[in-house]
């Protein structure tokens, strides 16, 4: 049984790592190797990475760099805003009793599940009227409307899993509700906050449809859109797109590896409610 399990782990490693390595190998293979069908680059080259980091913002390589920066700004701001408002609201759902509590929670959840395609046309027109098309701010506002319900939901589940005795004790000692939230509850909820922030960042980093429709230039184009744009154009020299893909994968992969122990706990709430 053990032997079988380790064999399956080996198989898992091959299935997961083979496509990943192919992405990395393609990014360092000279164009001739890619077109000639060799599995290993004869002369590995990092020139594409150098291009991405140094060339002007107009070429393909430069577009990747600028889009990476856009993605970083948009995803970080979205995560920060959503996390703050999500923590406040999530606490209300977890600890306070008020009218329409369930209805409000479900309304937020319904928004999260709404397909973006149902909102994208009027949002496009609204952003155009506000002169927010092709701006980072326009994307941040839009992304917050998806990521906030998610943060609300996971944070509320997490707050519910915390014992309320400490809070009650602080309240008896004369701490205000707000004081108890900031001094007792939020420090206790740190693992939940970290997990939620990671999920939120990945969610905004991955978003595609809104960015595809709302952005057009290096002002705000995000990395998924830049990669999609150049994937179709170069069917034989995938190298540059591969290098861009490796860089685009780095932030979410590093975050996920760093905080992997939170992932399973973070998902428990989505199963148990």
């Amino acid at each position: 049984m053990r032997k079988f399990q380790y064999a399956m782990c080996g198989l898992l490693a091959v299935v997961v790592l083979a496509p990943f390595s192919w992405l990395v190998i393609s990014s360092i293979s000279p164009a001739d190797d890619l077109a000639g069908g060799s599995l290993w680059p004869s002369h590995p080259t990092f020139s594409r990475y150098a291009d991405i980091f140094t060339s002007g913002p107009d070429g393909i390589a430069g577009t990747f760099r600028v889009s990476m920066v856009n993605s970083l700004v948009v995803a970080s701001a979205t995560t920060l805003i959503s996390l703050v408002v999500g923590c406040l609201g999530g606490y209300a759902f977890a600890r306070l009793r008020f009218r329409f509590r369930r209805t409000t929670l479900f309304a937020f959840l319904a928004i999260y599940m709404l397909p973006p395609i149902a909102l994208v046309i009027p949002l496009y027109l609204a952003l155009a009227n506000l002169a927010l098309l092709d701006t980072q701010l326009g994307l941040i506002l839009t992304y917050c409307s998806i990521v906030t319900p998610f943060c609300l939901w996971t944070m509320s589940n997490f707050f519910m899993s915390l014992p309320s005795e400490l809070e009650d004790a602080a309240r008896v000692d004369g701490c205000s509700r707000m004081g108890a939230l900031f001094r007792i509850v939020l420090p206790l909820a740190r693992p939940g906050i970290v997990a939620t922030a990671m999920f939120g960042f990945l969610l905004s980093w991955d978003e595609f449809l809104y960015s595809l429709i709302f952005t057009s230039t290096s002002n705000s184009k995000t990395i998924p859109v830049a990669i999609a744009e150049f994937t179709g154009k170069f069917s034989s020299d995938f190298g540059l797109v591969a290098a861009g893909g490796v860089l685009a994968a780095l932030p979410p992969v590093l975050l996920a590896l760093l905080f992997q122990r939170y992932i399973v706990n973070g998902l428990t709430g989505a199963v148990k409610g």
Partner: protein
């Protein structure tokens, strides 16, 4: 416990929820209603202006549109095959991650990787792997197949790419469920002479049923919305063979400028997803009541 509504708590709750409500409903409310309104008008350009009222004709058009049924078929096929594959493979991976093996963090990190890879990068990567002329798949197999060149094969290759990425999240969901099953329960069954296979079917699967149900509903919702991987891998082709409902809606609205029809299509997705979401919430409630 009967809910007691304390006035002070209600106010404090409103105060805490206000920022989130502004951030979410401030952005979403107008487009939700506007799309609904648009679906009743014959809107055929992005320009603002007055368009003729169309009643329900955009909705009835969905059912008389001959290209819609194949699209629905692709979506159903994609949903069923990818969800089933992800469930079976995800269950295997979850059991593996739950087993008392050495180097646990290595195996878990491996499973994290595809999940963290951005969907668009995943699609671009598989498009390159499946490339008929330069693709590594043909090199490894020694074949010369145009993997993305014929409609049905291309649809299956999109499913392969989706399964490779999303099996991870299914596995983590099931692992979260598995960790709530006490190990003694399975050990006791094995002591009693039950085979591993039997203890899996008679103990693990029944106890995991709530998690499985939740995963199925959530994955189905995602599959209904699938757009980006199709966009980057095949662009809906060849011969429209990989168009899904969400992708078709995008084409109608943005390529053909049929915004009214696109809005009606979008609301059909909303209705389908809404029904599934209700089902999901009921499952959650049952799970809560069952105390799992």
């Amino acid at each position: 416990m009967k809910p007691v509504h304390v006035r002070g708590e209600g106010r404090f709750a409103a105060f805490l929820l206000l920022p989130a409500a502004i951030v979410v409903f401030g952005v979403v409310l107008y487009p939700v209603l506007k799309t609904l309104l648009m679906s009743f008008y014959k809107v055929d350009s992005a320009m603002p202006g007055s368009y003729p009222f169309a009643g329900l004709s955009n909705y009835t058009k969905v059912f008389s549109d001959p290209s819609f049924y194949p699209v629905l078929g692709h979506t159903a096929y994609f949903t069923i095959v990818s969800t089933a594959a992800e469930l079976v493979l995800g269950m295997g991976v979850a059991l593996l991650l739950n087993a008392p093996l050495r180097f646990k963090w290595v195996w878990r990190s491996l499973v994290v990787l595809p999940w963290a890879l951005p969907t668009i990068v995943n699609g671009a990567l598989w498009r390159w792997i499946d490339n008929g002329q330069y693709g590594v798949l043909n090199q490894l197999l020694g074949t010369e197949i145009q993997w993305l060149g014929s409609p049905f094969l291309a649809l299956n290759m999109v499913i392969v790419a989706d399964v490779w990425k999303n099996t991870s999240i299914v596995a983590f969901f099931l692992l979260a469920g598995l960790q709530t099953i006490p190990a003694e329960l399975r050990e006791a069954a094995v002591m009693d002479g039950a085979s591993t296979w039997r203890s899996f079917w008679q103990i693990v699967v029944p106890l995991l049923k709530p998690s499985i149900a939740v995963v199925l509903v959530l994955r189905t919702i995602e599959a209904f919305k699938v757009f980006d991987i199709v966009y980057v891998m095949t662009g809906g082709g060849p011969a429209s063979g990989t168009q899904t409902v969400a992708f078709y809606t995008y084409l109608q609205a943005f390529s053909n400028q049929l915004f009214g029809y696109g809005a009606a299509l979008a609301y059909m997705i909303v209705i389908a997803v809404g029904a599934l979401a209700m089902f999901y919430l009921r499952l959650l409630r049952q799970n809560q009541l069952a105390g799992v």
